[in-house]
């Protein structure tokens, strides 16, 4: 079938991320508690997000598909709202999102002593790249089992690592099924019920 999980391509950065992980692991663990407390205090509605979580989610979504000279992005397509609507329908998804967002914010606190939302875009992108790297397969000298254990450890220890591919897929889904993206790409869908009476020319 054609539908597989997303693939991460930034293999070149993997050694960098590994070095970062070794250097900062302890620190992240120590810092993790502070922002988590902050988020809990906001008491969101069941399944929904707190205002801070909403701001975080929106910031990350807009980083993933930015508005730039190439065209519109997640903001114009209403992706943050679409994601929130989705979370209100699924408490399982909401759990993954909230722990992932909290973890991301705690990394920002540990590294820059600031919330993720307050960071300059360059630092935000750097943090997201690290999270993505932590999600990719590991190769150490310890062999396959050690590699797998290390990867599993990362997944459990850093909820953001689990969260990132889920978020990215959801962001793509919300963006690429929006009229904004379809206009950007000049896609004349959906396929049915009109079909394409002339396969050589765009639909009227």
């Amino acid at each position: 079938m054609r539908f597989r999980g997303i693939r991460t391509r930034a293999d070149a950065l993997e050694p960098l991320a590994r070095a970062w992980m070794v250097a900062f692991e302890g620190g992240v663990r120590a810092a993790a508690r502070r922002p988590r407390r902050r988020l809990r205090a906001a008491t969101p509605e069941r399944g929904g997000l707190s205002p801070h979580e909403t701001a975080l989610l929106s910031t990350v979504a807009v980083l993933l598909i930015p508005t730039d000279e190439l065209g519109p992005g997640a903001a114009e397509a209403g992706v943050p709202d679409a994601l929130e609507r989705r979370l209100r329908q699924s408490s399982a998804a909401s759990t993954v999102y909230r722990s992932g967002l909290a973890n991301l914010d705690s990394m920002a606190w540990r590294r820059y002593r600031q919330s993720f939302t307050a960071l300059p875009a360059g630092a935000q992108i750097e943090l997201l790249t690290m999270v993505e790297q932590l999600a990719s397969p590991v190769t150490t000298r310890g062999g396959k089992i050690v590699d797998r254990l290390l990867r599993l450890y990362r997944f459990v220890r850093y909820p953001a690592v689990q969260f990132f591919p889920v978020l990215w897929d959801d962001v793509m889904e919300a963006f690429y099924t929006s009229p904004v993206a379809w206009r950007w790409l000049t896609y004349d869908g959906p396929p049915m019920p009109l079909g394409y009476l002339d396969v050589l020319a765009p639909r009227e």
Binding site: M1, R2, F3, R4, I6, R7, T8, R9, A10, L63, L64, I65, P66, D68, L70, G71, G73, I125, L128, E132, W168, D169, M172, E173, F175, Y176, T177, S178, P179, A181, W182, L185, T186, Y187, G189, P190, P191, M192, P193, L194, G195, Y196, L197, V199, L200, P202
Partner: protein, 537 residues
């Protein structure tokens, strides 16, 4: 071995057919029209195009992966030795619900590979014997194909033209044709079971390109909208859905007596019949035979040759993509439109036997699907999207994998599915001839896309199972020692047991097999009807 308590509750039919796809659905209709009563046991459900195929919605791409997904993942479990992807659809219509309806005929040489090339085995029937059945199925389905100066120069002889005219090429095919022409290859319009004219009450194809995910317009001639309504119109066919066959029972005289199945409520039920037809596909049919053990058949029903489940063969599928500078808008029209058969036969220049077909393949080139393939995120992702979306065309191969007895479908000794039945354990390794052919196919795909002017070409490694064409596990033959069924697809060991799916293929050929499965099923139905008429069943 009828389970206690079920005997009195069973129905009796002339024939019970297991599976309602390209084989079973066809056989049911033919038997019903001949006046026989048939119960069809189908493990999946019915699909309603309007309700089940949301391809008219803006979010259709988010929904299509779920359309044919099983209600619970354990229902369709399987295990494999090595990497193998097993894909099929359970439902009324079987895998034709999902297929792209590519319907070329096998070639004359396919039936005589031992004689011609010294590999595998000859079929016990010839192309000429199957030709009338090909024609009959093509007219039922309204197959669209080229004729006259556009005809495929490599096509075997036909007694009649294609029922409806070929689908015209779209931009992707015109691009690939540039490359094929430059290399002297013959890219022709592929025959597909998607009529280009209104056909038997269904509309002509409207080129929506959603074939893989069910045709909302019923234009694609899947079995559920062609043979099944005709079968049910006879009033003699009863299709029981969500009915998972568990065992073919055998009478003391060695004849098949009926089929035990598990219904939607998990209850065990029984249908008795004068003849049994298995058409579950080349995995489910041997699985059911291997599960049907008895004192007379300790190694599985109809398995005195030991070949039930052996020679599990697929097609060698290599996928390639080319990115072009110009916009090609590949989502318009059917996913597969072009066919190249210049490499079909064994060539002296190759260090391997037999050959392959090439198809142009541009399915699923929609925004979300393209984005998932594009990878990356942020500005880099957007740039890749602009590069690939509307600019990418695909090609694929249907290469002939040679049968090998060690490639097999067996019962997994440990794992069970949601019914508590042993799951199929699949082994299919690409052997020497296969590997050499895949290498040549990959080179050829790259050459064609390069010659067509692609700025970037990616040829993916071939993953076993990806063809979704599964064949050969109960093969036909004259000799009961080296085959499971005879030339009428009747089991050598059991006088009233028939096999009506791709399991009976002796060799795989190098074309999509659905049309051949339906043609063979039509012929097998004819044989069953004759036996009823002669009082043998």
């Amino acid at each position: 071995m009828t389970p206690t308590g079920t005997q009195g509750f069973g129905t009796t039919a002339d024939v019970v057919v297991v599976g309602c796809g390209a084989g079973g659905g066809v056989i049911a209709k033919e038997l019903g029209e001949a006046g026989l009563s048939v119960v069809v046991l189908e493990a999946g459900r019915r699909y309603d195009p309007e309700a089940d195929y949301p391809t008219d919605q803006r979010e259709f791409e988010a929904k299509i992966p779920h359309i044919f997904a099983p209600p619970n993942a354990r229902r369709d479990r399987y295990t494999s030795s090595g990497r193998f992807t097993y894909s099929r659809v359970k439902g009324v219509g079987g895998s034709t619900l999902h297929y792209q309806a590519v319907s070329p005929r096998m070639h004359e040489s396919d039936f005589r590979v031992r004689t011609l090339d010294g590999v595998a085995d000859d079929w016990p029937i010839t192309y000429a014997e199957l030709e009338p059945y090909y024609t009959r199925v093509e007219w039922e389905l309204g197959v669209a194909g080229p004729s006259g100066e556009h005809a495929n120069p490599f096509e075997p002889p036909r007694s009649q033209r294609y029922p409806t005219p070929a689908h015209p090429f779209d931009l992707t095919n015109l691009a690939i044709k540039r490359g094929a022409d430059r290399l002297g290859l013959h890219l022709v319009e592929v025959p597909v079971a998607i009529p280009t004219k209104n056909w038997m009450g269904r509309p002509a194809c409207l080129s929506a390109g959603t074939c893989d995910f069910g045709c909302r317009a019923r234009a694609k001639s899947s079995i559920d909208v062609t043979y099944v309504p005709k079968a049910e119109a006879t009033g003699r066919i009863e299709i029981r859905t969500l009915a998972m066959a568990r065992e073919v029972t055998v009478a003391p005289d060695g004849r098949a007596r009926g089929v035990v199945y598990i219904d939607a409520d998990g209850e065990e039920r029984y249908v008795a019949a004068r003849a049994v037809v298995l058409a579950g596909n080349a995995v489910e049919t041997p699985r059911l035979l291997l599960m049907s053990t008895s004192s007379a058949f300790p190694h599985g029903l109809a398995n005195s040759s030991g070949l039930v489940g052996r020679n599990f063969t697929e097609h060698l599928a290599v996928f390639a993509k080319g990115a072009f500078d110009e916009r090609l808008d590949p989502w318009r029209g059917m996913p597969v439109k072009g066919l190249i058969q210049d490499f079909y036969e064994t060539s002296a220049g190759n260090d391997f036997a037999r050959g392959w077909s090439l198809l142009t393949e541009s399915g699923g080139a929609w925004p979300l699907t393209t984005a998932r393939r594009a990878g990356g995120w942020g500005a880099g992702h957007k740039a890749r999207m602009l590069d690939s979306f509307a600019h990418t065309v695909g090609m694929s191969s249907v290469g002939e994998q040679l049968p090998h007895p060690e490639n097999s479908v067996r019962l997994d000794p440990f794992q069970k599915d949601s019914f508590g039945l042993p799951v199929p354990f699949l082994t299919n390794r690409q052997r020497g001839n296969d590997v050499a052919m895949i290498r040549r196919i990959s080179e050829e795909l790259k050459q064609i896309l390069d010659a067509a002017g692609a700025r970037e070409v990616v040829v993916d490694p071939s993953v076993p199972g990806m063809s979704a064409h599964y064949l050969g596990t109960c093969r036909m033959g004259q000799d009961p020692g080296s085959s499971v069924v005879d030339r009428w697809c009747k089991a050598h060991d059991v006088p009233n047991l028939f096999i009506g799916d791709g399991s009976v293929f002796v060799t795989a050929g190098a074309v999509n097999p659905a049309l051949t499965i339906s043609a063979l099923a039509t012929r097998t139905a004819g044989g069953i009807i004759e036996k009823f008429d002669a009082g043998e069943l």
